[in-house]
Protein backbone atom coordinates (compact mmCIF):
# COMPACT_ATOMS: atom_id res chain seq x y z
CA UNK A 1 0.00 0.00 0.00
CA UNK A 2 2.31 2.69 -1.25
CA UNK A 3 -0.28 5.42 -0.75
CA UNK A 4 -0.21 4.81 3.00
CA UNK A 5 3.57 4.76 3.27
CA UNK A 6 4.83 7.40 5.68
CA UNK A 7 6.76 10.43 4.53
CA UNK A 8 10.36 9.67 3.74
CA UNK A 9 12.66 11.03 6.37
CA UNK A 10 16.19 9.77 6.44
CA UNK A 11 17.04 11.46 9.72
CA UNK A 12 17.55 8.17 11.58
CA UNK A 13 20.39 6.97 9.44
CA UNK A 14 22.79 9.86 9.80
CA UNK A 15 26.01 9.97 11.77
CA UNK A 16 29.09 7.84 11.91
CA UNK A 17 28.89 4.08 11.95
CA UNK A 18 26.25 3.87 9.25
CA UNK A 19 27.28 1.10 6.94
CA UNK A 20 26.22 0.66 3.36
CA UNK A 21 26.06 -3.11 3.13
CA UNK A 22 22.39 -3.78 2.54
CA UNK A 23 22.93 -7.54 2.49
CA UNK A 24 23.79 -7.67 6.19
CA UNK A 25 20.84 -5.38 6.86
CA UNK A 26 18.45 -7.74 5.12
CA UNK A 27 19.85 -10.73 7.03
CA UNK A 28 19.19 -8.84 10.27
CA UNK A 29 15.67 -7.95 9.17
CA UNK A 30 14.50 -11.32 7.83
CA UNK A 31 13.59 -13.18 11.06
CA UNK A 32 11.69 -10.32 12.72
CA UNK A 33 9.97 -8.96 9.65
CA UNK A 34 9.19 -12.52 8.53
CA UNK A 35 7.52 -13.16 11.87
CA UNK A 36 5.51 -9.96 11.62
CA UNK A 37 4.46 -10.77 8.07
CA UNK A 38 3.29 -14.28 8.90
CA UNK A 39 1.68 -13.54 12.26
CA UNK A 40 0.49 -9.97 11.79
CA UNK A 41 -0.08 -9.22 8.08
CA UNK A 42 -1.33 -12.65 6.99
CA UNK A 43 -3.78 -12.83 9.95
CA UNK A 44 -5.23 -9.47 8.89
CA UNK A 45 -5.83 -10.88 5.42
CA UNK A 46 -7.31 -13.98 7.02
CA UNK A 47 -9.52 -11.76 9.19
CA UNK A 48 -10.75 -9.96 6.09
CA UNK A 49 -11.47 -13.26 4.34
CA UNK A 50 -13.35 -14.53 7.41
CA UNK A 51 -15.41 -11.33 7.56
CA UNK A 52 -16.87 -12.23 4.14
CA UNK A 53 -17.59 -15.89 4.87
CA UNK A 54 -21.11 -17.35 4.77
CA UNK A 55 -22.71 -19.86 7.16
CA UNK A 56 -22.85 -23.53 6.17
CA UNK A 57 -25.80 -24.36 8.38
CA UNK A 58 -23.55 -26.10 10.89
CA UNK A 59 -22.91 -24.02 14.01
CA UNK A 60 -19.43 -22.44 14.04
CA UNK A 61 -18.53 -23.66 10.55
CA UNK A 62 -18.35 -21.17 7.68
CA UNK A 63 -17.37 -21.32 4.04
CA UNK A 64 -15.49 -18.94 1.76
CA UNK A 65 -17.84 -16.40 0.19
CA UNK A 66 -18.14 -12.74 -0.63
CA UNK A 67 -20.89 -11.84 1.78
CA UNK A 68 -20.52 -8.07 2.12
CA UNK A 69 -23.82 -7.98 4.00
CA UNK A 70 -21.91 -9.19 7.08
CA UNK A 71 -20.59 -5.64 7.42
CA UNK A 72 -24.04 -4.09 7.21
CA UNK A 73 -25.30 -6.59 9.75
CA UNK A 74 -22.39 -5.91 12.11
CA UNK A 75 -22.92 -2.15 11.95
CA UNK A 76 -26.70 -2.39 12.26
CA UNK A 77 -26.48 -4.57 15.33
CA UNK A 78 -23.46 -3.08 17.08
CA UNK A 79 -23.31 0.63 16.20
CA UNK A 80 -24.13 1.65 19.80
CA UNK A 81 -21.05 -0.27 20.97
CA UNK A 82 -18.92 1.55 18.41
CA UNK A 83 -20.26 4.93 19.49
CA UNK A 84 -19.71 4.10 23.16
CA UNK A 85 -16.15 2.85 22.48
CA UNK A 86 -15.09 6.07 20.81
CA UNK A 87 -16.88 8.34 23.30
CA UNK A 88 -15.47 6.54 26.35
CA UNK A 89 -11.95 6.29 24.98
CA UNK A 90 -12.09 9.89 23.70
CA UNK A 91 -13.02 11.24 27.14
CA UNK A 92 -10.45 8.96 28.79
CA UNK A 93 -7.74 10.24 26.43
CA UNK A 94 -8.50 13.90 27.21
CA UNK A 95 -8.60 13.17 30.96
CA UNK A 96 -5.31 11.27 30.73
CA UNK A 97 -3.69 14.19 28.89
CA UNK A 98 -4.82 16.66 31.57
CA UNK A 99 -3.58 14.41 34.38
CA UNK A 100 -0.34 13.32 32.69
CA UNK A 101 0.90 16.74 31.57
CA UNK A 102 1.75 18.17 35.02
CA UNK A 103 3.58 14.99 36.02
CA UNK A 104 5.53 14.81 32.75
CA UNK A 105 6.39 18.53 33.10
CA UNK A 106 7.50 18.00 36.68
CA UNK A 107 9.77 15.07 35.75
CA UNK A 108 11.24 16.90 32.75
CA UNK A 109 11.99 20.30 34.35
CA UNK A 110 11.84 20.11 38.13
CA UNK A 111 12.86 16.62 39.22
CA UNK A 112 16.66 17.01 39.03
CA UNK A 113 18.46 13.89 40.19
CA UNK A 114 15.16 12.14 40.98
CA UNK A 115 14.28 12.00 37.30
CA UNK A 116 15.32 8.37 36.65
CA UNK A 117 13.57 7.18 39.82
CA UNK A 118 10.34 8.95 38.93
CA UNK A 119 10.37 7.44 35.44
CA UNK A 120 10.70 3.98 36.99
CA UNK A 121 7.71 4.75 39.20
CA UNK A 122 5.67 5.78 36.13
CA UNK A 123 6.19 2.38 34.47
CA UNK A 124 5.99 0.44 37.75
CA UNK A 125 2.22 -0.18 37.45
CA UNK A 126 3.01 -2.43 34.46
CA UNK A 127 4.61 -4.86 36.91
CA UNK A 128 1.31 -5.32 38.72
CA UNK A 129 -1.44 -7.30 37.03
CA UNK A 130 -3.64 -5.19 34.72
CA UNK A 131 -6.71 -7.25 35.62
CA UNK A 132 -6.13 -6.99 39.37
CA UNK A 133 -5.46 -3.26 39.19
CA UNK A 134 -8.69 -2.79 37.27
CA UNK A 135 -10.53 -5.03 39.70
CA UNK A 136 -9.13 -2.97 42.60
CA UNK A 137 -11.23 -0.04 41.37
CA UNK A 138 -14.28 -2.06 42.42
CA UNK A 139 -13.01 -1.70 45.99
CA UNK A 140 -12.12 1.98 45.63
CA UNK A 141 -15.39 2.97 43.90
CA UNK A 142 -17.65 0.64 45.93
CA UNK A 143 -21.20 1.92 46.51
CA UNK A 144 -20.74 2.30 50.26
CA UNK A 145 -17.14 3.49 49.87
CA UNK A 146 -15.69 6.89 50.72
CA UNK A 147 -15.50 8.27 47.17
CA UNK A 148 -19.05 7.36 46.13
CA UNK A 149 -20.47 8.66 49.44
CA UNK A 150 -18.59 11.93 49.03
CA UNK A 151 -19.95 12.59 45.54
CA UNK A 152 -23.43 11.49 46.60
CA UNK A 153 -23.32 14.03 49.42
CA UNK A 154 -22.78 16.69 46.76
CA UNK A 155 -25.57 15.15 44.64
CA UNK A 156 -23.24 14.83 41.68
CA UNK A 157 -24.02 11.28 40.63
CA UNK A 158 -27.04 10.80 38.35
CA UNK A 159 -27.29 7.12 39.25
CA UNK A 160 -26.22 7.61 42.90
CA UNK A 161 -23.31 5.31 42.26
CA UNK A 162 -20.07 5.13 40.26
CA UNK A 163 -19.54 1.39 39.95
CA UNK A 164 -21.41 -0.28 37.08
CA UNK A 165 -21.89 3.08 35.31
CA UNK A 166 -20.06 4.63 32.32
CA UNK A 167 -18.18 6.88 34.80
CA UNK A 168 -16.37 3.85 36.24
CA UNK A 169 -15.50 2.56 32.75
CA UNK A 170 -14.03 5.92 31.70
CA UNK A 171 -12.12 6.22 35.01
CA UNK A 172 -10.74 2.71 34.53
CA UNK A 173 -9.63 3.45 30.97
CA UNK A 174 -8.02 6.73 32.05
CA UNK A 175 -6.11 5.01 34.82
CA UNK A 176 -4.95 1.98 32.87
CA UNK A 177 -3.41 3.78 29.92
CA UNK A 178 -1.97 6.78 31.80
CA UNK A 179 1.69 5.64 31.60
CA UNK A 180 1.34 5.52 27.80
CA UNK A 181 0.46 9.21 27.94
CA UNK A 182 3.11 10.25 30.46
CA UNK A 183 6.12 8.68 28.73
CA UNK A 184 5.85 10.30 25.26
CA UNK A 185 4.89 13.63 26.87
CA UNK A 186 7.98 13.42 29.03
CA UNK A 187 10.15 12.50 26.02
CA UNK A 188 8.93 15.60 24.14
CA UNK A 189 9.19 17.98 27.11
CA UNK A 190 12.65 16.75 28.03
CA UNK A 191 13.97 17.88 24.65
CA UNK A 192 12.87 21.48 25.24
CA UNK A 193 15.73 23.78 26.23
CA UNK A 194 14.73 25.31 29.59
CA UNK A 195 16.40 28.55 28.50
CA UNK A 196 13.57 29.04 26.02
CA UNK A 197 11.12 29.23 28.92
CA UNK A 198 13.44 31.65 30.75
CA UNK A 199 13.67 33.74 27.61
CA UNK A 200 9.89 33.96 27.43
CA UNK A 201 9.88 35.19 31.03
CA UNK A 202 12.62 37.70 30.30
CA UNK A 203 10.48 39.06 27.50
CA UNK A 204 7.69 39.73 30.02
CA UNK A 205 5.50 36.78 29.05
CA UNK A 206 3.37 35.63 31.98
CA UNK A 207 3.96 31.99 32.98
CA UNK A 208 0.69 31.09 31.27
CA UNK A 209 1.59 32.89 28.02
CA UNK A 210 5.05 31.34 28.16
CA UNK A 211 3.47 27.94 28.44
CA UNK A 212 0.94 28.55 25.68
CA UNK A 213 3.41 30.07 23.19
CA UNK A 214 6.59 28.11 23.96
CA UNK A 215 6.16 24.88 25.92
CA UNK A 216 2.85 23.62 24.53
CA UNK A 217 3.76 23.96 20.81
CA UNK A 218 7.13 22.29 21.37
CA UNK A 219 5.51 19.43 23.28
CA UNK A 220 2.98 18.71 20.51
CA UNK A 221 4.82 15.64 19.12
CA UNK A 222 4.54 14.12 22.61
CA UNK A 223 0.87 15.08 22.82
CA UNK A 224 0.19 13.42 19.45
CA UNK A 225 2.08 10.23 20.35
CA UNK A 226 0.59 10.06 23.85
CA UNK A 227 -3.00 10.57 22.74
CA UNK A 228 -2.58 7.86 20.08
CA UNK A 229 -0.99 5.40 22.51
CA UNK A 230 -3.86 6.01 24.94
CA UNK A 231 -6.76 6.21 22.52
CA UNK A 232 -5.92 3.12 20.45
CA UNK A 233 -5.75 0.53 23.25
CA UNK A 234 -8.63 2.22 25.09
CA UNK A 235 -10.99 2.06 22.11
CA UNK A 236 -10.44 -1.69 21.67
CA UNK A 237 -10.47 -2.52 25.36
CA UNK A 238 -13.21 -4.64 26.91
CA UNK A 239 -11.64 -5.42 30.29
CA UNK A 240 -12.69 -2.14 31.91
CA UNK A 241 -16.22 -2.29 30.48
CA UNK A 242 -16.65 -5.86 31.72
CA UNK A 243 -15.14 -5.46 35.19
CA UNK A 244 -16.33 -1.93 36.02
CA UNK A 245 -19.39 -1.25 33.86
CA UNK A 246 -22.96 -2.48 33.58
CA UNK A 247 -24.11 -4.69 30.67
CA UNK A 248 -25.46 -1.52 29.05
CA UNK A 249 -21.95 0.01 29.01
CA UNK A 250 -20.38 -2.67 26.80
CA UNK A 251 -17.92 -1.55 24.14
CA UNK A 252 -17.05 -2.87 20.69
CA UNK A 253 -14.29 -5.06 22.18
CA UNK A 254 -16.98 -6.90 24.14
CA UNK A 255 -18.95 -7.49 20.94
CA UNK A 256 -15.89 -8.87 19.14
CA UNK A 257 -14.98 -11.10 22.06
CA UNK A 258 -18.46 -12.59 22.61
CA UNK A 259 -19.05 -13.14 18.89
CA UNK A 260 -15.68 -14.85 18.46
CA UNK A 261 -15.46 -16.89 21.64
CA UNK A 262 -19.07 -17.47 22.72
CA UNK A 263 -21.45 -17.24 19.73
CA UNK A 264 -18.78 -18.52 17.33
CA UNK A 265 -20.13 -16.08 14.77
CA UNK A 266 -16.71 -15.62 13.22
CA UNK A 267 -17.79 -13.57 10.15
CA UNK A 268 -19.62 -10.92 12.21
CA UNK A 269 -16.80 -10.83 14.77
CA UNK A 270 -14.22 -10.42 11.99
CA UNK A 271 -16.25 -7.70 10.32
CA UNK A 272 -16.44 -5.83 13.65
CA UNK A 273 -12.66 -6.17 14.14
CA UNK A 274 -12.01 -4.95 10.63
CA UNK A 275 -14.28 -1.92 10.97
CA UNK A 276 -12.65 -1.01 14.28
CA UNK A 277 -9.20 -1.23 12.74
CA UNK A 278 -10.21 0.74 9.67
CA UNK A 279 -11.57 3.58 11.81
CA UNK A 280 -8.49 3.64 14.03
CA UNK A 281 -6.01 3.45 11.16
CA UNK A 282 -7.77 6.33 9.43
CA UNK A 283 -7.42 8.41 12.60
CA UNK A 284 -3.79 7.34 13.04
CA UNK A 285 -2.78 8.24 9.50
CA UNK A 286 -4.37 11.65 9.77
CA UNK A 287 -2.13 12.15 12.81
CA UNK A 288 0.94 10.58 11.16
CA UNK A 289 0.74 13.08 8.34
CA UNK A 290 1.55 15.70 10.92
CA UNK A 291 4.08 13.82 13.00
CA UNK A 292 5.96 11.35 10.74
CA UNK A 293 6.47 7.72 11.73
CA UNK A 294 10.15 7.97 12.56
CA UNK A 295 9.32 10.37 15.37
CA UNK A 296 6.60 8.13 16.72
CA UNK A 297 8.39 4.84 16.46
Amino acid sequence: MPAMAPSKKSSASTGVGVRRRPRTAYLLLIPGLGWLSIFFVVPLISLFATSLQAPTGKNGVYQAAFQVSNYAEAIAEYWPQFVRSFIYSGIATVLALVIAYPLAYFIAFRAGKWRALLLVLVVAPFFASFLLRTYAWRTILADEGFITSFFNMLHLLPEQRILNTPIAVVLGLTYNFLPFMILPLYAALERIDPRLIEAAGDLYASPFTGFRKVVWPLSLPGVVAGTLLTFIPASGDYINATLLGAPSDRMVGNAIQTNFLQFRDYPIASALSFILMAIILTLVFVYIRRAGTEDLV
Binding site: A5, P6, K8, A12, S13, V16, R19, R20, P22, T24, A25, L29, G32, W35, L36, F40, P43, S46, L47, T50, I99, L103, Y105, F106, L117, V120, A124, P125, F126, F127, A128, S129, F130, L131, L132, R133, Y135, A136, W137, T139, I140, A142, Y175, P179, L228, I232, S235, G236, Y238, I256, Q257, F260, A269, S270, S273, L281, V284, T293, E294, V297
Partner: protein, 269 residues
Amino acid sequence: MRWLRKNLIPIIGILVLVYLFIPIAVVAVLSFNKPAGKFNIAWNEFSLSAWQNICGVPGVCGSFVTSLEIGLLATLVGTIFGTMIAFALVRYRFRGRSTTNLLIFLPMATPEVVLGSSLLALFLNLAFPLGFWTVVIAHIMFIISFVVVAVKARLQGMDPRLEEAARDLYADARSTFRHVTFPLVLPGILGAALLGFSLSFDDYIISAFNAGTLVTFPIYIWGAAQRGIPVQVNALATLVFVIALTIVLVSQFINYRRRRMLEAGMSAD
Protein backbone atom coordinates in the same frame (compact mmCIF):
# COMPACT_ATOMS: atom_id res chain seq x y z
CA MET B 1 -0.14 31.10 48.96
CA ARG B 2 2.99 32.06 47.06
CA TRP B 3 4.60 28.81 48.18
CA LEU B 4 1.65 26.91 46.82
CA ARG B 5 1.83 28.69 43.49
CA LYS B 6 5.53 27.98 43.18
CA ASN B 7 5.18 24.32 44.04
CA LEU B 8 1.87 23.63 42.34
CA ILE B 9 3.35 21.47 39.58
CA PRO B 10 5.44 19.22 41.88
CA ILE B 11 2.41 18.79 44.14
CA ILE B 12 0.11 17.80 41.26
CA GLY B 13 2.85 15.56 39.85
CA ILE B 14 3.25 13.69 43.11
CA LEU B 15 -0.54 13.38 43.49
CA VAL B 16 -0.68 11.78 40.02
CA LEU B 17 2.03 9.31 41.06
CA VAL B 18 0.05 8.48 44.19
CA TYR B 19 -3.03 7.94 42.00
CA LEU B 20 -1.03 5.48 39.86
CA PHE B 21 -0.19 3.46 42.95
CA ILE B 22 -3.55 3.46 44.78
CA PRO B 23 -4.95 0.34 43.02
CA ILE B 24 -1.64 -1.48 43.51
CA ALA B 25 -1.81 -0.67 47.22
CA VAL B 26 -5.37 -2.02 47.29
CA VAL B 27 -4.21 -5.28 45.66
CA ALA B 28 -1.36 -5.62 48.17
CA VAL B 29 -3.49 -4.77 51.23
CA LEU B 30 -6.19 -7.25 50.18
CA SER B 31 -3.54 -10.01 50.02
CA PHE B 32 -3.51 -9.82 53.84
CA ASN B 33 -7.28 -10.01 54.05
CA LYS B 34 -9.58 -12.75 55.20
CA PRO B 35 -12.62 -11.95 53.05
CA ALA B 36 -16.08 -12.15 54.59
CA GLY B 37 -17.74 -13.71 51.55
CA LYS B 38 -16.28 -15.30 48.45
CA PHE B 39 -15.40 -11.93 46.90
CA ASN B 40 -12.16 -10.38 48.20
CA ILE B 41 -13.32 -6.78 47.73
CA ALA B 42 -13.78 -5.23 51.16
CA TRP B 43 -11.44 -5.36 54.16
CA ASN B 44 -12.55 -7.83 56.81
CA GLU B 45 -9.82 -9.31 58.97
CA PHE B 46 -6.02 -9.53 58.93
CA SER B 47 -4.69 -12.91 57.86
CA LEU B 48 -1.41 -14.33 56.58
CA SER B 49 -2.95 -17.55 55.33
CA ALA B 50 -2.71 -16.66 51.62
CA TRP B 51 1.00 -15.87 51.97
CA GLN B 52 1.73 -18.99 54.01
CA ASN B 53 -0.09 -21.22 51.56
CA ILE B 54 0.48 -19.37 48.30
CA CYS B 55 -0.28 -22.38 46.06
CA GLY B 56 -3.18 -23.45 48.27
CA VAL B 57 -5.88 -22.96 45.64
CA PRO B 58 -5.79 -25.40 42.70
CA GLY B 59 -4.87 -23.81 39.39
CA VAL B 60 -3.26 -20.62 40.74
CA CYS B 61 0.36 -21.72 40.71
CA GLY B 62 -0.05 -23.88 37.63
CA SER B 63 -1.32 -20.96 35.58
CA PHE B 64 1.40 -18.76 37.10
CA VAL B 65 4.12 -21.15 35.91
CA THR B 66 2.50 -21.38 32.46
CA SER B 67 2.64 -17.58 32.15
CA LEU B 68 6.28 -17.56 33.31
CA GLU B 69 7.22 -20.14 30.65
CA ILE B 70 5.35 -18.31 27.89
CA GLY B 71 6.83 -14.98 29.01
CA LEU B 72 10.43 -16.22 29.08
CA LEU B 73 10.22 -17.99 25.74
CA ALA B 74 8.41 -15.16 23.93
CA THR B 75 10.72 -12.53 25.44
CA LEU B 76 13.85 -14.41 24.40
CA VAL B 77 12.80 -14.78 20.77
CA GLY B 78 11.11 -11.37 20.54
CA THR B 79 14.12 -9.57 22.02
CA ILE B 80 16.58 -11.23 19.63
CA PHE B 81 14.45 -10.50 16.55
CA GLY B 82 13.66 -6.95 17.68
CA THR B 83 17.29 -6.12 18.49
CA MET B 84 18.38 -7.34 15.05
CA ILE B 85 15.83 -5.06 13.37
CA ALA B 86 16.89 -2.11 15.53
CA PHE B 87 20.54 -2.58 14.51
CA ALA B 88 19.58 -2.81 10.84
CA LEU B 89 17.50 0.37 11.07
CA VAL B 90 20.12 2.47 12.84
CA ARG B 91 23.35 1.08 11.36
CA TYR B 92 22.56 0.26 7.75
CA ARG B 93 21.21 1.93 4.68
CA PHE B 94 18.84 -0.21 2.71
CA ARG B 95 15.79 -0.02 0.49
CA GLY B 96 12.46 -0.56 2.17
CA ARG B 97 13.15 1.51 5.26
CA SER B 98 9.72 3.09 5.39
CA THR B 99 8.00 -0.25 4.80
CA THR B 100 10.02 -1.69 7.70
CA ASN B 101 9.09 1.24 9.94
CA LEU B 102 5.46 0.82 8.97
CA LEU B 103 5.53 -2.90 9.73
CA ILE B 104 7.01 -2.17 13.17
CA PHE B 105 4.58 0.63 13.90
CA LEU B 106 1.32 -1.02 12.78
CA PRO B 107 1.12 -3.75 15.45
CA MET B 108 1.43 -1.02 18.09
CA ALA B 109 -1.31 1.02 16.39
CA THR B 110 -3.67 -1.94 16.30
CA PRO B 111 -5.95 -2.63 19.27
CA GLU B 112 -5.31 -5.90 21.06
CA VAL B 113 -8.75 -7.29 20.16
CA VAL B 114 -7.87 -6.95 16.48
CA LEU B 115 -4.43 -8.55 16.95
CA GLY B 116 -5.93 -11.40 18.94
CA SER B 117 -8.95 -11.99 16.75
CA SER B 118 -7.03 -11.81 13.46
CA LEU B 119 -4.54 -14.43 14.67
CA LEU B 120 -7.44 -16.58 15.81
CA ALA B 121 -9.02 -16.19 12.36
CA LEU B 122 -5.76 -17.44 10.82
CA PHE B 123 -5.44 -20.40 13.18
CA LEU B 124 -9.11 -21.32 12.64
CA ASN B 125 -8.80 -21.13 8.86
CA LEU B 126 -5.70 -23.35 9.01
CA ALA B 127 -7.34 -25.64 11.60
CA PHE B 128 -4.19 -25.10 13.71
CA PRO B 129 -4.63 -26.45 17.28
CA LEU B 130 -4.82 -23.67 19.91
CA GLY B 131 -2.74 -23.81 23.08
CA PHE B 132 0.72 -23.05 24.47
CA TRP B 133 2.44 -22.50 21.13
CA THR B 134 -0.23 -20.28 19.60
CA VAL B 135 0.04 -18.00 22.65
CA VAL B 136 3.85 -17.95 22.38
CA ILE B 137 3.60 -17.07 18.67
CA ALA B 138 1.18 -14.23 19.43
CA HIS B 139 3.35 -12.83 22.24
CA ILE B 140 6.54 -12.87 20.15
CA MET B 141 4.62 -10.91 17.50
CA PHE B 142 3.70 -8.02 19.80
CA ILE B 143 6.98 -8.00 21.75
CA ILE B 144 9.10 -7.41 18.61
CA SER B 145 7.79 -3.88 17.97
CA PHE B 146 8.34 -2.69 21.53
CA VAL B 147 11.89 -4.08 21.55
CA VAL B 148 12.72 -2.35 18.25
CA VAL B 149 11.56 0.99 19.63
CA ALA B 150 13.48 0.65 22.90
CA VAL B 151 16.76 -0.64 21.43
CA LYS B 152 16.63 1.85 18.55
CA ALA B 153 16.37 4.72 21.02
CA ARG B 154 19.38 3.40 22.91
CA LEU B 155 21.46 2.99 19.75
CA GLN B 156 20.62 6.48 18.53
CA GLY B 157 21.49 7.97 21.90
CA MET B 158 24.95 6.39 21.89
CA ASP B 159 28.02 8.60 21.54
CA PRO B 160 29.48 7.68 18.11
CA ARG B 161 32.93 8.84 19.26
CA LEU B 162 33.24 5.76 21.47
CA GLU B 163 33.17 3.46 18.45
CA GLU B 164 35.43 5.82 16.49
CA ALA B 165 37.92 5.71 19.34
CA ALA B 166 37.89 1.91 19.28
CA ARG B 167 38.60 1.93 15.57
CA ASP B 168 41.35 4.54 15.99
CA LEU B 169 42.93 2.09 18.41
CA TYR B 170 43.02 -0.52 15.62
CA ALA B 171 40.07 -2.62 16.81
CA ASP B 172 38.48 -4.46 13.89
CA ALA B 173 34.74 -4.31 13.29
CA ARG B 174 34.10 -7.49 15.23
CA SER B 175 35.96 -6.57 18.41
CA THR B 176 34.57 -3.03 18.29
CA PHE B 177 31.14 -4.59 18.35
CA ARG B 178 32.00 -7.07 21.08
CA HIS B 179 33.87 -4.79 23.44
CA VAL B 180 32.30 -1.38 22.77
CA THR B 181 28.97 -1.40 20.96
CA PHE B 182 27.33 -4.42 22.53
CA PRO B 183 28.15 -3.61 26.19
CA LEU B 184 26.85 -0.07 25.63
CA VAL B 185 23.56 -1.27 24.11
CA LEU B 186 23.09 -4.17 26.53
CA PRO B 187 21.26 -2.16 29.24
CA GLY B 188 18.82 -1.01 26.54
CA ILE B 189 18.29 -4.59 25.38
CA LEU B 190 17.76 -5.82 28.94
CA GLY B 191 15.29 -3.00 29.60
CA ALA B 192 13.42 -3.91 26.43
CA ALA B 193 13.38 -7.57 27.48
CA LEU B 194 11.96 -6.66 30.89
CA LEU B 195 9.26 -4.59 29.20
CA GLY B 196 8.50 -7.44 26.78
CA PHE B 197 8.29 -9.94 29.61
CA SER B 198 5.91 -7.82 31.66
CA LEU B 199 3.71 -7.24 28.59
CA SER B 200 3.61 -10.97 27.88
CA PHE B 201 3.15 -12.05 31.49
CA ASP B 202 0.28 -9.61 31.95
CA ASP B 203 -1.45 -10.03 28.60
CA TYR B 204 -5.07 -11.08 28.78
CA ILE B 205 -6.85 -10.06 25.56
CA ILE B 206 -4.55 -11.56 22.91
CA SER B 207 -4.00 -14.69 24.99
CA ALA B 208 -7.72 -15.19 25.59
CA PHE B 209 -8.32 -15.39 21.84
CA ASN B 210 -5.51 -17.83 21.11
CA ALA B 211 -5.20 -20.01 24.23
CA GLY B 212 -7.92 -22.56 23.51
CA THR B 213 -8.21 -24.46 26.79
CA LEU B 214 -4.80 -23.34 28.09
CA VAL B 215 -5.01 -21.28 31.29
CA THR B 216 -2.43 -18.51 31.76
CA PHE B 217 -2.28 -16.42 34.97
CA PRO B 218 -4.39 -13.53 33.55
CA ILE B 219 -6.88 -16.00 32.05
CA TYR B 220 -7.15 -17.65 35.48
CA ILE B 221 -7.81 -14.25 37.11
CA TRP B 222 -10.46 -13.38 34.52
CA GLY B 223 -12.29 -16.64 35.11
CA ALA B 224 -11.99 -16.29 38.87
CA ALA B 225 -13.38 -12.73 38.81
CA GLN B 226 -16.88 -14.10 38.19
CA ARG B 227 -16.85 -16.37 41.25
CA GLY B 228 -14.40 -14.50 43.51
CA ILE B 229 -10.63 -14.10 43.08
CA PRO B 230 -8.69 -16.19 45.65
CA VAL B 231 -6.53 -14.14 48.05
CA GLN B 232 -3.51 -16.14 46.82
CA VAL B 233 -3.75 -14.34 43.47
CA ASN B 234 -3.29 -11.00 45.24
CA ALA B 235 -0.31 -12.40 47.13
CA LEU B 236 1.36 -13.69 43.94
CA ALA B 237 0.73 -10.44 42.06
CA THR B 238 2.15 -8.42 44.96
CA LEU B 239 5.21 -10.67 45.02
CA VAL B 240 5.81 -10.21 41.28
CA PHE B 241 5.40 -6.43 41.61
CA VAL B 242 7.87 -6.18 44.49
CA ILE B 243 10.48 -8.39 42.77
CA ALA B 244 10.26 -6.56 39.43
CA LEU B 245 10.38 -3.12 41.04
CA THR B 246 13.37 -4.15 43.17
CA ILE B 247 15.29 -5.40 40.12
CA VAL B 248 14.71 -2.14 38.26
CA LEU B 249 15.47 0.11 41.24
CA VAL B 250 18.69 -1.75 42.09
CA SER B 251 19.93 -1.59 38.49
CA GLN B 252 19.06 2.11 38.34
CA PHE B 253 20.95 2.70 41.57
CA ILE B 254 24.03 0.83 40.31
CA ASN B 255 23.88 2.86 37.11
CA TYR B 256 23.64 6.10 39.08
CA ARG B 257 26.56 5.20 41.33
CA ARG B 258 28.72 4.20 38.37
CA ARG B 259 27.98 7.45 36.58
CA ARG B 260 28.74 9.47 39.70
CA MET B 261 32.07 7.64 40.11
CA LEU B 262 32.95 8.19 36.45
CA GLU B 263 32.19 11.88 36.75
CA ALA B 264 34.22 12.15 39.96
CA GLY B 265 37.11 10.34 38.28
CA MET B 266 37.04 12.66 35.30
CA SER B 267 37.00 15.83 37.35
CA ALA B 268 39.93 14.52 39.46
CA ASP B 269 42.17 14.23 36.40
